[in-house]
């Protein structure tokens, strides 16, 4: 049925998005990029790719954050183009995609405000895809209740938040709980939406979202070691759509150390590989301390700054995510390509920024640690 009717409304945009996908950097182009000596070279090299001369009008010297910003801007422009041309149900699908960024932005602002950061600086750091009208007002809120009633009540996040609302004060732990509860609700809702679309969209998206859910569950578990998060609370944060659910989730909820996490993942053959060598070093390393700092690293959207095993695991997750997203392009007449494209492009921007950063800081030995997309 999709083959018959999909192209009526989605064909054009699928064509566009596949065209965008063809513009993703290839392995060869990554190799060329890693050979660059200076950011100047880097710009010359990028101008030969689909990025074109997006940096041509920047005065020298170019900072890596400019590269990242400009690249993100390109992505946002593409997304907005897709979104403004989309009709139901694709428009709804794309809408759903922005919720994740909204959650991140909300958490970013709350945390920032809590730590006394400047509001306008925080607003600048928000992901442009997750910006909504009343977002700036978030900084007024001082407790969860207020947060919900002043701002979030009119955003699409409101239904997710309703479950998370408890009269608790805002502190780092609670914010993490809120974030994870929101994410859990969001993932489940998104998955339900995709299932309602049916067809290949449901299949492919379920695969991707299930992995996302499992990843979050594992991350939550690892990060909660050594914090005052109780095991019951932890169990509540696990999304229920992953491949680990329900058995693995239960094991995770009871886990006290990294080995138990690995045991929980044994059931899924793909996940077993994540812990093969990375898990070892992590197990005898600094479990709890790493967890905390990693969550802050996550918080600030700076995933590459952390060294060590957790980052290693994170990298493996990314690799697997890229793999799943690539698989999405093997099926036609479905919406998952839009999701996958945006995710791949994000990964590409992260990789490009990583390379640029390595060049700028002259850390050539680590330049190959990026995650290639195609």
């Amino acid at each position: 049925m999709e083959a018959l009717l999909f192209n009526v409304s989605g064909g054009f945009l699928e064509g566009i998005v596949r065209g965008y996908k063809a513009g993703l950097l290839t392995q060869n182009q990554y190799n060329n990029l890693t050979q660059c000596e200076t950011i100047e070279d880097f710009r010359t090299q990028l101008s030969a790719t689909d990025y074109g001369n997006f940096l041509a009008n920047e005065p020298l010297p170019i900072s890596t954050s400019t590269i990242s910003d400009k690249a993100t801007q390109l992505l946002v422009d593409q997304f907005n183009y897709l979104r403004s041309n989309a009709v139901e149900p694709l428009s709804k699908f794309l809408e759903y995609m922005t919720y994740a960024y909204m959650i991140d932005n909300v958490i970013l602002i709350i945390t920032g405000t809590l730590h006394g950061r400047n509001t306008s600086e925080l607003l600048q750091r928000c992901h442009p895809l997750g910006i909504f009208d009343t977002m700036p007002a978030l900084c007024v809120a001082t407790n969860v209740e207020e947060l919900y009633h002043t701002v979030l009540v009119e955003t699409p996040l409101a239904p997710y938040f309703r479950d998370a609302v408890s009269a608790a004060d805002l502190d780092d732990l609670n914010i993490e709980i809120i974030r994870n509860t929101l994410y859990k609700a969001y993932l489940e809702d998104f998955d339900a939406f995709c299932q309602s679309l049916g067809g290949p969209t449901a299949d492919v998206m379920h695969r991707i979202l299930a992995f996302e859910a499992d990843r979050r569950a594992i991350n939550i578990t690892i990060n909660s070691f050594g914090t005052q998060l109780s095991k019951e609370q932890r169990a509540k944060l696990f999304p229920t759509i992953g491949r680990l659910f329900p058995e693995g989730n239960n094991t995770l909820a009871r886990a006290d150390e990294i080995d138990q996490v690995r045991q929980a993942c044994e059931a899924v053959s793909e996940y077993r590989a994540f812990f093969d060598s990375g898990g070892r070093s992590h197990a005898n390393g600094n479990g709890g301390a790493n967890g905390n700092s990693e969550s802050t690293a996550n918080l600030l959207g700076d995933l590459d700054s952390e060294l060590g095993a957790a980052a290693d695991l994170e990298d493996r997750f990314f690799v697997h995510e890229v793999h799943l997203n690539k698989l999405a392009f093997l099926q036609q007449f479905q919406h998952a390509v839009f999701y996958s494209y945006i995710k791949l492009k994000e990964q590409e921007i992260r990789s490009v920024t990583w390379i640029a950063e390595c060049i700028a800081q002259n850390a050539r030995d680590r330049i190959h640690d990026f995650i290639p997309t195609f």
């Binding site: 030969a48 020298l60 700036p136 207020e146």
Partner: protein, 828 residues
């Protein structure tokens, strides 16, 4: 060959040349050759990354300069009042060759950097001042609007207070006291407030959020600011509102301030006291005036700066663009570090080599050194690129042909014949003296004002017309000619000669039947057919047959075009294996049809014993039921036999075409193998011994650096030959049928054109021509204009845009054989 006048018949003879350029003169040499524009450089370092090449540094520097120039251009564009930009041909040229070249570029670089820093500085200060000005303006608005608000409130409140005081039993003295208090302190509000400005688009969100944050405990008032605020940097307009919010308590006010700030609002401290408000109003106005003067001066300064930039920007742009291209070309060259020379390889027309030599010498002189670049020809077995030397007349035609495919080196170029066939086939469809004349005049005007128009920027649509002005001119001429043939001028007919038909006097409404009066109309269609009831039938059949005749002639001609190729490339066997069977096939079916058409025209069917046969059915019958012809519709006696013979001939041609060539190839291959030779891969052949290398270099006959490795060596497999020939055969046989059918489009479009113009005439002018009196004249004038506009816009412009596409479809497939012939196959 080199002395011949350049012809379009074949592409120019090309030579692979090698240039050995000393590094000192490399830049100037490339600049000189670039101006000449007839060398195609080859990339001699294909394995080197773009950023590892020799001249990356220079390119980067030029890029930076280009960025600055672009920045200036965008600044010039943003300026509201346009700043005059001196056009390139008017500005003094910047000399970037010769001994002072490096200095010129350095100076330019510095100059650009200076201008940029000055401009950015000015922009910054201008922006800063504008920002401050905006704030002050906003403050003034806030003051004014809040004052108004307070005034209203004061009036209301005093009224109320007085009313309450009147019937109070307070003592008089106390009352006075209070009065005094009012007069001195005006009003004492219990409520505290926040006032400021906010973007209008955000106002509703702001209000909503506030309402929720304060749980409704607020009173908010807002007023639109009439004039928009313009951002000096981007020129974007924003509209703002003044708001004033009353709330009670410090916490609430703090919250309001926080929300307001996070929503991008600006808050201005406003005093409750009216006097103080008036003071600050005065102060703001005063500062505003000062600031405006400063701002005006800054703006004027900036404008003068931009003016100086505008003087030169065109030449800067030119120089920077050229420099970039020069360095990019230099990057293609191979650098010989040992001898401090650059080695270039490229293709150029053999005829132009003296010219290039001259340019090289000139470049050496210019740069002031005495080491000239050396040029010599290389021998190569590679196929040179195709180069057609065009002029402004043939350029348009050649471009159309190239859009469909470029002939191989030295093959016959269909572009030459398209100069006539293209406009003629167009004219067959467009035949109308009037319309043809209009487009002829417009093309003639474009050619007349060629120089002026070439300089102007014409825009996409008109630019296309201008580019094809000579095509349009010929189209116009031929349309006038075919218009005479069709006897059609704006859908009316001309009565130039004595008509061959006469009509009896009209009696009532009967249909009149014309009778021949013995005259023959000497040229074109007899005007008597115009308006006749069966006129359409006649022109229909006439145009249909004509388009078939023209089509078959055109295809025959195109098939013939391969003969010069075969002779040129000494593939004489191809004449027997390709050309002859193709010709026989085409002529025995479609050539026969054409002969029948012409024969049928010559027969007077009113006197003939049989009915006029339908030629279409005849052709179908010839193929489907060979050997039997219905005697009632027989065209000539013995038709059946002739047709069977022709069909057999065509039938024989197919296997002939299919088999003969591969067979010959096979024979030749066997012969060679029989002699004991084995085909060697080109790469395995030792190209030259060491001795010859040395000798060659001494004599200046260097070898090409990049040898033929990159050229795909076709594996001369026998199977490939067979497959190719099969495809070729099928393509040709099907092509004959489908192309003949395609030529019917000439008929269809010609008919459509004629009918459209007739409808246009009948619907507009024909209605008003007979009207008497003043009304008639007015209506005639009005409708006449309308008719003319519609004629020009629909029939001339729209069809001109649309129709070229149609005839182009025809010449190309038929012109295909000359260059779609099998690639020359050599057996080693």
């Amino acid at each position: 060959m080199g002395d011949d006048y350049p012809t379009l018949f074949r592409s120019e003879q090309m030579s692979l040349v090698q240039l050995i350029v000393p590094t000192e003169v490399a830049h100037d040499t490339i600049a000189e050759l670039g101006e000449l524009g007839n060398v195609q450089f080859k990339d001699l370092n294909p394995d080197v990354n773009p950023f590892q090449r020799s001249y990356v540094g220079e390119i980067r520097r030029v890029d930076e300069m280009a960025r600055r120039v672009r920045f200036f251009a965008s600044q010039l564009e943003k300026e509201k009042e346009p700043i005059p930009v001196r056009p390139l041909y008017d500005s003094a040229p910047l000399v970037t060759v010769g001994p002072r070249a490096a200095q010129t570029i350095d100076e330019l670089d510095v100059k650009l950097a200076e201008h940029e820093s000055r401009l950015t500085q000015m922009n910054e200060s201008y922006q800063l001042l504008s920002e401050r000005l905006r704030e002050l303006v906003e403050a003034r608005h806030v003051l004014r609007e809040t004052a108004q608000f307070f005034d209203q409130a004061a009036v209301r409140e005093t009224g109320e207070v007085r009313a309450s005081l009147d019937d109070s039993s307070a003592p008089l003295l106390q009352h006075d006291d209070r009065e005094q208090q009012y007069s001195s302190g005006e009003l004492q509000f219990d409520l505290e407030f926040v006032a400021g400005t906010i973007d209008r688009a955000r106002l509703s969100t702001f209000e909503r959020v506030l309402w929720r944050v304060l749980r409704g405990n607020l009173y908010m008032n807002y007023i639109d600011i009439q004039e928009p605020f313009v951002d000096p940097a981007t020129g974007a307009e924003t509209r703002k509102n003044v708001f004033i919010i009353f709330a009670h308590g410090d916490i609430l006010l703090g919250k309001i301030r926080k929300v307001a700030e996070s929503m991008g609002a600006t808050i201005y401290p406003i005093d409750v006291n009216a006097d103080k408000r008036a003071d600050s109003m005065r102060e703001v106005t005063g500062r505003l005036e000062d600031l405006q003067i400063v701002l005006y001066n800054t703006g004027a300064n900036r404008r003068t700066e931009l003016m100086t930039i505008g003087e030169n920007i065109a030449s800067w742009e030119d120089v920077v663009g050229k420099e970039k291209l020069i360095y990019e070309t230099l990057n293609l060259l191979n650098y010989d570090a040992r001898r401090k020379t650059l080695v270039a390889e490229g293709w150029c027309p053999t005829r132009d080599i003296p010219q290039i030599q001259l340019a090289l010498r000139h470049a050496t002189e210019e740069s002031g050194t005495n080491v000239p670049p050396i040029l010599h020809e290389l021998r190569t077995n590679r196929t040179p690129p195709t180069f057609h030397r065009t002029n402004k007349f043939t350029e348009g035609f050649q471009t159309i042909m190239d859009a469909y495919g470029v002939a191989t080196y030295e093959e016959v170029n269909p572009g030459l014949f398209a100069v006539i066939t293209f406009p003629f086939l167009f004219a067959v469809m467009f035949g109308d003296i009037g319309h043809g004349f209009i487009i002829f005049i417009s093309a003639a005007l474009m050619i007349l004002f060629e120089r002026k128009l070439a300089k102007a920027d014409l825009g996409e649509i008109f630019g296309t017309f201008f580019f094809g002005r000579y095509i349009i001119l010929l189209m116009g001429v031929f349309s006038i000619y075919t218009g005479f043939l069709y006897n059609d001028i704006f859908s009316k007919s001309l009565h130039l000669f004595h008509s061959g038909w006469e009509f009896p006097e009209a009696h009532g409404n009967d249909t009149l039947v014309g009778f021949a009066n013995g005259h023959t109309y000497p040229f074109g269609i007899d005007p008597a057919w115009h308006g006749a009831e069966n006129g359409l039938l006649f022109t229909n059949s006439y145009k249909m047959k004509m388009s078939i005749v023209l089509g078959v002639i055109h295809m025959t001609f195109a098939v013939c075009l391969q003969v010069p190729n075969h002779i040129r490339f000494r593939r004489f066997s191809d004449i027997w294996t390709n050309f002859i069977p193709q010709m026989v096939f085409l002529q025995s079916i479609f050539g026969y049809l054409v002969v029948c058409i012409i024969y049928k025209w010559t027969v007077d069917w009113s006197q003939a014993s049989t009915q006029p046969p339908s030629l279409l059915n005849m052709l179908i019958g010839m193929v489907l039921s060979p050997g039997s012809v219905d005697p009632d519709s027989q065209l000539y006696p013995g038709q059946a036999t002739v047709q069977v013979i022709l069909l057999l001939m065509a039938g024989v041609c197919v296997p002939w075409l299919l088999i003969s060539k591969p067979y010959l190839q096979y024979q030749e291959m066997k012969k060679i193998q029989g002699q004991g030779y084995i085909g060697l891969g080109a790469d395995d052949v030792p190209r030259h011994t060491d001795d010859t290398t040395l000798e060659g270099e001494e004599e200046g006959n260097g070898q090409a650096i990049v040898e033929a490795n990159d050229e795909e060596h076709e594996q001369h497999d026998f199977s490939e030959v067979v497959v190719h020939q099969v495809i070729h055969t099928i393509e040709f046989c099907l092509g004959c049928v489908s192309h003949t059918a395609s030529y019917l489009r000439l008929w269809a479009l010609s008919l459509a054109h004629a009918q459209l113009s007739e409808v246009l005439w009948d619907m507009t002018l024909a209605n008003v021509l007979g009207m008497p009196g003043v009304v008639g004249i007015i209506a005639l004038a009005f409708v006449g204009v309308m008719w003319l506009v519609l004629t020009i816009s629909i029939l001339c412009v729209m069809e001109l845009e649309g129709e070229p596409v149609v005839p182009v479809v025809e010449p190309v497939p038929t012109a295909d054989p000359p260059h779609a012939g099998p690639p020359d196959i050599e057996v080693e």
